[in-house]
């Protein structure tokens, strides 16, 4: 069903649209951002600079973007998908040439007032294009090999560019989110079985061959994988941070040490305490109760997104909303696993909480899309 068939008359128009916003979702998003400000204020030792204030300014800007995006009919965004995708790809390529090297990887374009991280933008525009693609594709072709290959290329091309930077975390996130949309769109499960089977097979082969004469990788590559998978084998490198992170987290206990009372995170054990490791501070200061509350809020955001998606009769809206929900989920799931020592450290921020301009703006924009789909859903 396309926008031509929308019962346009039943869609609210003008300022009345504001009444039709998904208010619970909006409040939840603002709550998370608020928690983020608190934490940034705390890790700076009780100061709005250098992190909390810029983060709040960006949130204000992002909030305006979110509402603006929400006001524009969803079919406009559907038509813009290809443009948005191409724009992100161009930005991503230009990072290779004009980008600034930050934290050992080339990720930014300096726009003057802020640093743009095209890989963050790419995460959302990729989801948009895939949703628009399946909106266009007739059902019976969904599992046709050629029409499966196209979205796979759409996913792999930017993934490849991101890996060049190198930014493993974003690459994994994009692949997983893209794969989820393919799954939701109804691509035959055999494709997934084959890809997963091949992946498992390859990994097994790589590890099985170790020490034999047909060894697939060089010895030093295996050692790097070892350190990556098991940071405790490198106690002064990756392992050091995970140990400290776990101590900070664990010492929070049931209710935490109280706001601004965390000692561990303040002792400069963690190199990126205001970005990737910010959850540690939250968990230390607000304890198990605080950490689980944040997890519940995140889960609720996803639940509301999924509810919007399932209630929508428009295929684009539905896939887009679910895609954004999955991306959002991957953000916090990977970040939390990493901080709690369940996953290797790959550099994924905690969504809406970690300090970072582009991620904040892009996520708010994405929620704007969800809101737009909600407002303009066919009734």
């Amino acid at each position: 069903m396309s926008y031509l068939e929308y019962a346009v008359k039943s869609v609210p128009s003008g300022p009345r649209k504001l009444l039709y916003l998904n208010w619970p979702l909006l409040l939840l998003v603002c709550t998370v951002a608020g928690a983020g400000f608190l934490m940034l204020y705390s890790v700076a030792g009780g100061s709005f600079t250098p992190w909390a204030e810029p983060q709040m300014e960006r949130f204000a800007l992002g909030f305006v973007i979110m509402i603006s995006v929400a006001m524009v009919p969803i079919w406009f965004w559907r038509n813009m998908s290809v443009v948005a995708y191409l724009l992100s790809v161009i930005l991503l390529i230009s990072v290779e040439f004009f980008g600034t090297v930050g934290m050992g990887a080339q990720r930014w374009i300096d726009l003057g007032f802020m640093r743009l991280q095209p890989s963050e933008l790419m995460k959302i525009t990729l989801v948009m294009l895939l949703a628009a693609y399946y909106d266009w594709l007739p059902e019976k072709r969904t599992s046709h090999p050629f029409f499966v290959l196209i979205p796979v290329m759409i996913i792999l091309f930017p993934t490849f560019l991101v890996l060049q930077q190198p930014d493993l975390g974003t690459a994994i996130l994009m692949m997983a989110a893209g794969g989820a949309i393919l799954f939701l769109a109804g691509v035959h499960w055999l494709y997934f079985a084959v890809v997963i089977g091949a992946g498992v097979g390859l990994v097994t082969a790589v590890f099985q061959s170790r020490g034999t004469d047909w060894q697939l990788l060089k010895d030093y590559q295996y050692r790097r994988i070892d350190t990556f998978l098991d940071p405790s084998s490198d106690p002064l490198g990756a392992g050091y941070h995970i140990t400290q992170s776990k101590i900070a987290l664990g010492s929070g206990g049931w209710t935490g040490r109280g706001f601004m009372q965390g000692t561990q995170s303040r002792l400069n054990f963690l190199p990126e305490k205001h970005t990737d490791f910010i959850f540690t501070t939250l968990a230390e200061e607000f304890g198990f109760v605080g950490a689980v509350s944040l997890l519940v809020i995140y889960a609720l955001i996803i639940a509301f997104c999924l509810a919007t998606a399932l209630s929508s009769k428009d295929r684009f809206s539905s896939l887009l909303t679910m895609g954004i929900a999955v991306t959002f989920f991957l953000f916090f799931a990977v970040n939390m696993s990493m901080v709690m020592g369940l996953a290797p450290v790959v550099g994924v921020p905690l969504p809406m909480v970690s300090y970072g301009g582009t991620a904040m703006l892009v996520l708010l924009g994405a929620f704007g899309l969800v809101q737009s789909a909600h407002i303009h859903r066919p009734r």
């Binding site: 101590i247 198990f288 950490a291 997890l295």
Partner: protein, 650 residues
Amino acid sequence: MRRNPRELASLQTRTSRRAVLLGSAMAAFSGGLALRMRHLQVDQADQFRLLAEENRINIRLIPPERGEIFDRNGATIAKNTPSYRIVIVPEDAGDIDAVVARLTKLIDIPEEDLEDTLEAVRRSARQAPFLPVTLADQVTWEDISKVAVNTPALPGITPEVGLTRVYPQEGAFAHVVGYVGPVSDYDLSKMEDPDQLLRIPRFQIGKVGLEARQEERLRGKAGTKRVEVNATGRVMRELDRKEGESGADLQLTVDSNLQGYIQARLGRESASAVVIDCESGDIVACASAPTFDPNLFVRGISVADYRGLTEDTYRPLASKTVQGIYPPGSTFKVITAMAALEEGLIGPDDTVWCPGYLEVAGRRFHCWKRGGHGHVNLENSLKYSCDVYYYDLALKVGIDKISAMAHRFGLGVRHDLPMSAVAAGLAPNRAWKQRVHGQDWLVGDTANASIGQGYMLASPLQLAVMSARIATGRSVTPRLIKSIDGVEEPSGAGEDMGLNENNLRKMRRAMYAVSNDRRGTAYRSRIIEDAFRMAGKTGTSQVRNITADERARGVIRNEDLPWERRDHALFVCFAPYVAPKYAVSVVVEHGGGGSSVAAPIARDVMLQALYKGFPPLEAYPSADRDRVKAQQERLSREMRHAEGERSDRA
């Protein structure tokens, strides 16, 4: 696009089904995360809180013990001894400058070092503030006690016992083993993936010689220990420790008694000697004089001492045995002769007429003996060291064959010994000159090359290998490391070179004549003990051109020239003649004549090696015995004296 209602319905059902599936998966994962949180924050909370509140965990590297180095008889060449040092952990110190200022009031840290050290501490404070950095090394026990008493006023500072490298034999193996020193930024910049250990400032790594070449083996692997420290940085207890691996112990092929003797015998001469075991290729001694004390470098050499070493015209820091390359002079005649013999160009009764010179391409090439040697055959040519004979031979054989023969005997070949700056020398051929100089090879070049002059260059090591190969007919390969952690290294005995045994015998016979025939150039340096008769070849290589003008007025005597323009004195030999055991080469830089200067040293060294100690005077010709007796007494006094000094220090 327009879809019919049935299609739409089916799409929606499937999407919904899958959305529910994915949603459940996400919910399950979130549940898992919550459980993990509960595990960390509730179940293990007490444990973590304890760690966090009362203690902080520090991870300390345990530096591995560096492998020790022994000689072939088990005498220690390099070992580790405990040394006291003062370290600072930047993150515990807080205000580094203030703490260090307080420390300098207590103990004396040299002004010049302090700035560098502070810089290192600040750098480390940025990168890894939890790693201890050495502030002062080799600290006396009194200073350590002063610091220990005052720890409350010196946060972050602790006295530590560490290990430092000591070379008990001092100068004897300075050029072979080299020395260690604190790792520098330059060292790190050369490494691709430096070991964490090297990030510890002042960590000792091999800088020169075997210590540097075998760094990986000697270093070992770092262990780690996790320790609990209280708020002031004092270590409360060790949580666990992962032991590192100490470095491999190396046993060398060298004999420290012989090496010590050679160093004493060479004394302040700018000279070098190599003794190689013909049967195994073992380098039994490899001495370069004058030498220096490597311990100075370990402690950090003073500017004055260092300048003394670098400005010495005799270049004590140079490893002359492998790094020094000299025109081999007449010692090279052996190669020219071998090339001609193998080509079948010398008949049993062939002789060459030596009038004192040979005209080659319109230029006169002189024999060292102005009046000439008359008719000479192969044996006499080597015995008298007649130059004209070899000019003549070389012109018949051609340079390419000579060069190839030289390479077979290990000249112009880089012998891969684990020492610093092992030189390849040069045994040129036509292609080489064309490639390097872009010029054609001239007949005159061949004449020069035939007597080891011109472009020809060889190191004492190569000359020793050459004699060992002549003595055995096998491609003896030098080896310096006898065993690693008790595992024997492959022998350097080598394969048969495939040379005609008769030709080799002729060469050995001629070399025998050099030092045993009354008219041989090294007759005065013969060994008269029948079982140990020596075969050798003298060499005197020019480092200047003798102009026709000078020749006309009479060649200036060596003694009248400034030191650096005098001839090099060379001697190569092997003994016993009947069953070669050792090959020796001696080069005395600007020493004068090979027969008068180098041969006596080589003979003394050879006898010392064969008798494994001071030889009985009966081995020497009777005329020399009084002189040798006095020399032996002097040297044994010197060696005992050095020994005494060493044990005093220990």
